[in-house]
């Protein structure tokens, strides 16, 4: 009843059970690790049951005798994975994860190969059994990895060449893929070797291009943008970031649910508040709740909106926003944005307006535009 495969999986299941119990007792009961180990345990029970039910997959119609095992590359690969795993403990988490994946994959392949080679005395039958078990896993994984390498290589090409050249490259590649795909579709009788050859040549070409692109590095604008401080605008002073996305508009959901849209048009600052007809000079917002304003600049010059946040701790920009509270000024602001662009600013007003100085209410102003302000009222 208990053969080699059954013993192996039952042993693994028992080991998983011990791990689970030890984890629950010594580490933490209600943790994701416990859930993961429970799932592993349940999965191994299923596998063990399946192995027992099929009697280790032994085909009793085939004569069993001593069967020669083939040379296998999996011990070597498993050793490489193990080395990477250990090396990763010291060098890098990336090595550790990659080594772990390689080790697990190699051990799985090795175990299945070892089992299949003793399943019967017929090597062809054994190879069929191995393929039957592993191909449904191998093919999707290999295809995913292959596509990933091709896509990553293409992204390296796009990041290395100029924006215009990138547009041309993208169009040309898309046209080639469409043409070749159409040819395959209308000529189903093409030899598989030819189809495979074309695909391999294309993939190798892209990977080679990716290697070259990686060697060339990012195009100058991207390299400069990567080195910029995209949060330099929080000082509400001169703009420092040159390649920042000044047309950042956040999400459609956010834009349709703002407290007010603040517009600068023909030198006049107004608030468009949903529900109120016509331009407003005052916006009423709830206390202690993040509210979002969108600033739209229709002025020909680049402009930024500045929010006065009142006395200390009266209001705070929401964490993670592009704008951040600046030092002692109790202000936050948007980027300098060009004509026709817009940007959102999210603020939480913790204290009511009555807690502020009468002559210094919460306001939204535009730097350089004197004498105009939208008052923010917090009941």
């Amino acid at each position: 009843m208990f053969k080699v495969g059954s013993k192996l999986f039952l042993g693994t299941t028992g080991f998983a059970a011990v791990n689970l119990v030890a984890y629950l007792i010594f580490v933490e009961r209600l943790a994701i690790g416990g859930v993961a180990l429970s799932m592993l345990f349940a999965a191994l029970i299923g596998v063990s049951a399946a192995v027992l039910m099929i009697n280790d997959g032994d085909d009793e119609t085939q004569p069993r005798d001593t069967a020669l095992t083939r040379a296998s590359m999996w011990p070597l690969i498993a050793a490489v994975g193990l080395v990477l795993l250990v090396l990763g403990l010291v060098v890098s988490q990336l090595y550790f994860i990659f080594g772990g994946i390689v080790l697990v994959a190699a051990l799985a392949e090795w175990m299945v190969q070892a089992w299949s080679e003793t399943a019967s005395d017929d090597p062809a039958h054994n190879e069929f059994a191995r393929r039957r078990l592993l191909h449904p896993i191998e093919f999707p994984v290999i295809a995913t990895l292959g596509l990933g390498v091709v896509i990553f290589s293409f992204s390296r090409i796009m990041l290395a060449i100029s924006k215009n050249a990138g547009t041309v490259a993208f169009i040309v590649l898309a046209a080639v893929v469409l043409a070749v795909g159409s040819m395959f579709a209308i000529r189903p009788a093409l030899k598989p070797a030819l189809v495979s050859g074309i695909c391999v040549i294309g993939a190798v070409g892209i990977v080679a291009g990716g290697v070259a692109g990686t060697g060339a590095g990012l195009r100058p604008q991207l390299a400069e943008a990567a080195a910029e401080d995209h949060f330099s605008h929080r000082e509400c002073g001169p703009e420092k970031a040159k390649y920042f996305d000044k047309k950042a508009m956040k999400t459609l959901s956010l834009r349709s649910n703002v407290a007010a849209v603040i517009e600068l048009r023909d030198g006049k600052l107004t608030a468009d508040v949903y529900g109120f007809s016509g331009p407003q000079q005052q916006v009423s917002v709830p206390r202690a709740n993040p509210v979002t304003f969108i600033f739209r600049n229709f002025d020909s010059a680049e402009r930024r909106m500045v929010a006065y946040l009142g006395t200390a701790a009266a209001a705070t920009p929401v964490d993670g926003e592009m704008a951040d509270k600046h030092g002692d000024t109790n202000e936050t602001c948007t980027q300098l944005i060009p004509q026709g662009a817009e940007q959102a600013l999210t603020i939480t007003y913790n204290k009511p307006s009555i807690a502020q100085d009468n002559d210094k209410p919460f306001t939204l102003t535009v730097a350089g535009l004197e004498g105009q302000a939208i008052e923010v009222v917090v009941p």
Partner: protein, 392 residues
């Protein structure tokens, strides 16, 4: 089994016959709710007729063709004409329903003819209403209240809803359908009441332990009465006279309650304005503003009435012409539901579950969800009740 079924049927039947069901969806009291009612009545009728036909056909088939040992009839497959007909007819019915439904949806979503805007913010487990400045209504400075939404009759009122913590849903069945109040979003809902009166509702999105206790009432006043209400809400704060129990209650309020509850105009002994800090003490960052508390009829998220039963019935059942005066009279000592108010002040979490167990506060960074037990003495409660009665 038969008895139980009969009993359940009787309860359901009798419940359906209730005439004083304040949250009856079949009794619209405003044009928005009427639009929904005008849509649902014919759809319900058509669906009912179709339902009866289907049930009758199924019952007939079950009875007529039940197994009596007869031979299995000839088995056939496919009857295109019948199948197409039975597909097209429901599709046509749904298309007609869809046309009228979409029209109502778009009509209900109209906001361009809004006459009064009110911001509505939900949090566990009460609703806050703030009225932005709107000079045409005499609202020159924002008004903030809770529990009861006060609005003028015959006016297109636009609610701008949001939430401070989890998703809630605002529903006054007599005035319109439901609308979720979602953190970070502003959703709109229009209300309009034909007649003065109080219209009840409750949160319809499960929002935590006291979801069922998160109620609300919309109070419709004539435009003249609404103007009176607005003027009263904006009146300056009047501190109780020196030497009174209420004045002592003001001190208790300043020592205890003002940590979370704002009373506009209330000053500390040093003359500075008393500013509440619910953002430092409450998980949602807000607690009901108690300015003019006794002009409302409810407290604790409208879970309790501020009026005794008799006084409450007098207001709720008042004729339209008399309703405004009775509502604007507010709550006095004779009508105050002092038992529930005292119980609330004595130990709020005991009468309205609010996760007030200190052991659970670690998850909220030490902040309370709702009002905690303040450990007030009976003497302090006496003083507080006397003080709260002055907030009119």
């Amino acid at each position: 089994m038969v008895r139980a079924t009969t009993a359940v049927g009787a309860v359901v039947g009798l419940g359906s016959c209730a005439t004083n069901a304040a949250q009856d969806t079949w009794q619209p009291k405003g044009p928005n709710a009427k639009m929904i009612d005008d849509l649902q009545q014919p759809i319900f009728a058509v669906a009912g007729i179709i339902g009866i036909i289907v049930f009758a056909a199924v019952s007939y088939a079950i009875w007529r063709f039940k197994d009596r040992g007869q031979p299995i009839p000839e088995q056939t497959h496919g009857k295109p004409a019948l199948e197409i007909t039975l597909t097209v007819i429901p599709a046509l019915i749904l298309a007609v329903v869809g046309v009228f439904t979409f029209r109502v949806i778009f009509d209900l979503a109209k906001t361009d003819d809004t006459e009064l805007v009110i911001n509505v913010t939900g949090q566990q487990w009460w609703w806050e209403y703030d009225y932005p400045a709107q000079n045409e209504w005499g609202i020159t400075q924002p008004i903030i209240t809770s529990g009861q939404l006060v609005m003028p009759v015959g006016t297109k009122v636009l609610l701008r809803e949001t939430s401070r913590d989890v998703i809630h849903s605002y529903w006054i069945p007599a005035l319109n359908g439901k609308r979720d109040a979602v953190p970070g979003r502003i959703h709109t809902l229009r209300l309009e009441a034909d007649e003065p009166g109080i219209y009840a509702g409750q949160c319809t999105e499960f929002c935590g332990l006291s979801h069922a206790n998160m109620r609300m009432e919309a109070v419709a006043l004539s435009k003249e009465d609404f103007a009176t209400w607005v003027a009263n809400q904006q009146a300056a704060y009047q501190s109780p006279a020196e030497g009174t129990l209420a004045k002592e209650g003001e001190s208790v309020f300043l020592n205890q309650c003002v940590r979370c509850h704002q009373v506009d105009g209330l000053k500390r002994p040093d003359g500075s304005l008393a500013i509440a800090a619910p953002d430092e003490n409450v998980w949602s960052g807000a607690a009901p503003n108690l300015t003019n508390l006794m002009t409302r009829n409810t407290f604790a998220g409208a879970m309790f009435d501020l009026l005794r039963d008799a006084c409450r019935d007098d207001v709720w059942n008042a004729e339209s012409a008399e309703f405004g005066a009775k509502y604007l009279a507010g709550v006095d000592e004779a009508c105050l539901n002092v038992n529930d108010l005292r119980a609330w002040l004595r130990n709020a979490p005991e009468v309205k579950p609010m996760y007030a167990n200190p052991a659970l506060l670690a998850d909220t960074n030490g902040k309370y969800r709702g009002m905690p037990n303040l450990g007030l003495s009976e003497s302090d409660i006496d003083k507080l009740v006397a003080y709260l009665l002055t907030l009119k």
